[in-house]
Symmetry: C2
Subunit: 327 residues, 2 copies
């Protein structure tokens, strides 16, 4: 048995589920989609030095590699069916691989989303996961479905992952109380895909996106696709305790241009506010109504002083040097 | 617009098809599988220096990256629906990207298999394609379905791609007539996925696999999964003109341990021989009956002298140093 056959053994656990007709080990995996539902597909590639640091905890990396893909399913309101993993590795480190596989499978099991196939090769560390889910055609949460007058909602809160990243980089302004340090690191390294909320919102919300590149930039994708604008009320933005000590400039940078939040940002008609709150309750996910969709294009932040500020809708580029502060 | 947004433009051509409800640009792509069919999924990762040389023609690389995945669909008897592309690139070379995308899209168009989503990031060159197809549950060509007494069939012929690889490496025994050089290179760099044959064989053949790692090794996967053995008749193996000048030892190495053949190897009951030939005719794909499945385990080569030789069922490891000659 070769080195790479051993590697595959960490991943091929004979996992199946009601949707899996044939798992790992043939030319293709075979899934059984439910009749009448559409298949939702997302693929993300994670590269060392860009999406994670070389010394990252492998169990956390296994978790995050799948979490960022599941988050895309959540943003469509889809139910997970399974995923494939393609992995390029410089060498077969058994302990590293076991930890990575454990982190990956724990999250997969929690969401009944089994590994059904993939590929393993030698090369620079690269993790490519493609995830499959299903959703009723008329219930999918698309980016182009926001309507003027919609409420703008956010699950959880943003900015802690960005603060953790700045801490790891040693950025001077990134101060945090000792008790919040581990929490921020958890948000960066083990994001929670909001699948239950996404499924509860399917058919209820209009548009949705998951926040990977920062609230302002990702909201910009909804606005561009839907041909609308938005206002965010500064006072309505939830602020995690870890961000309290920052200056307002840096706090806003974390809140709006954070990246790696993996929260859901969604729009819904005003007349379903109670239903949205019920969906949040059922799914055990906090939500905040942070603003509204407008017919006027552009993204405006309404400050605590009630005056609008222009917000450049830009994204946080992972590991890129510098980032424009919010104007 | 950023550099990577420009890259994405090479790939996002607004391609859709009857199976695509939502293509590139949202959190997920949405496909419409046909009612009652199963979804066939395969994922392959190609890494520079392992699966291709750094100076490879980018158009050929685009073709091959998709072809190796479509070949997996062919080996299940599945019809292509679409694919995702995750691409890690060290830099954005516009001419390289255009050629790569052209090669990719040309093959995708030929098989009505549109690009529906994916990811782009900066990093060492890495190409991960995940392809989706559909097939009726009882018609899928699985590796575990070979039966003792089945005929063993091969589409096309094997060994030319391996010969081209040895030529590129400057291997002394790898001599080839001038007229055959380009043909062998074509087989290595632009393999033809046998999709029409695979679909014609679905429900007719028992087991199938596509040949990526050499005939002997890949046949070994069918034998192991099905719990059977096989005999190959040396005299029945098709030999391309380019291989005629080789010694029998090196010719057999190319034929049986070639790698990168992307032909279909399949088993079918003896009483459907005429139907198999008709499927080959309809799909415009030559097939040869090269042996049979046996209840006795193991893989035996019946020589021109009528005497069996033991064949170690091993695979060709891309770019790995050395390879045991066939015993």
């Amino acid at each position: 048995m070769g080195e790479f056959e051993l590697i595959r053994r960490h991943f091929a656990r004979g996992q199946t589920g009601p949707s899996v007709a044939l798992g790992i080990g043939d030319d293709c995996a075979l899934l059984r989609p439910s009749p009448g539902l559409q298949l939702a597909i997302s693929s993300d590639m994670l590269v060392e030095g860009r999406h994670f640091f070389p010394d990252v905890d492998p169990a956390a990396l296994g978790h995050k590699s799948l979490a960022v893909n599941l988050s895309d399913l959540a943003a469509m309101g889809a139910r997970p069916l399974g995923f494939t993993l393609a992995l390029s590795l410089p060498a077969a480190d058994d302990a590293w691989l076991k930890a990575f596989a454990d982190g990956l499978h724990a999250l997969a099991d929690a969401h009944a989303c089994p590994l059904v196939g993939g590929d393993t090769t030698r090369g620079p560390l690269n993790i490519c996961i493609t995830v499959f889910g299903e959703v009723a055609p008329e219930r999918a949460l698309r980016r182009d479905a926001a309507k003027a007058g919609d409420d703008l909602w956010l699950s959880g809160c943003t900015g802690e992952a960005r603060l953790a990243l700045e801490r790891l980089r040693g950025t001077p302004w990134a101060t945090v109380a000792t008790g919040d340090e581990a929490l921020c690191r958890q948000r960066l390294e083990r994001p929670t895909p909001r699948l239950a909320l996404g499924m509860a919102l399917a058919g209820l919300a209009h548009a949705a996106i998951d926040l990977s590149d920062g609230l302002a930039g990702d909201l910009g994708h909804i606005l561009a696709a839907s041909g609308v604008g938005a206002e965010i009320d500064r006072a309505a933005l939830p602020v995690a305790p870890a961000l309290q000590a920052l200056s307002e400039t840096h706090r806003l940078e974390c809140l709006l241009q954070g990246g790696d939040d993996y929260e859901l940002l969604f729009t819904a008609p005003q007349d379903v506010r109670q239903a949205v709150l019920a969906a949040a309750e059922i799914s055990g996910t906090p939500v905040h109504r942070i603003g509204r969709i407008t017919a006027d294009r552009g993204l405006r932040l309404l400050g605590a002083d009630g005056l609008p500020k222009d917000l450049r809708a830009r994204s946080w580029d992972h590991f890129a040097p510098g980032s424009d502060p919010v104007s």
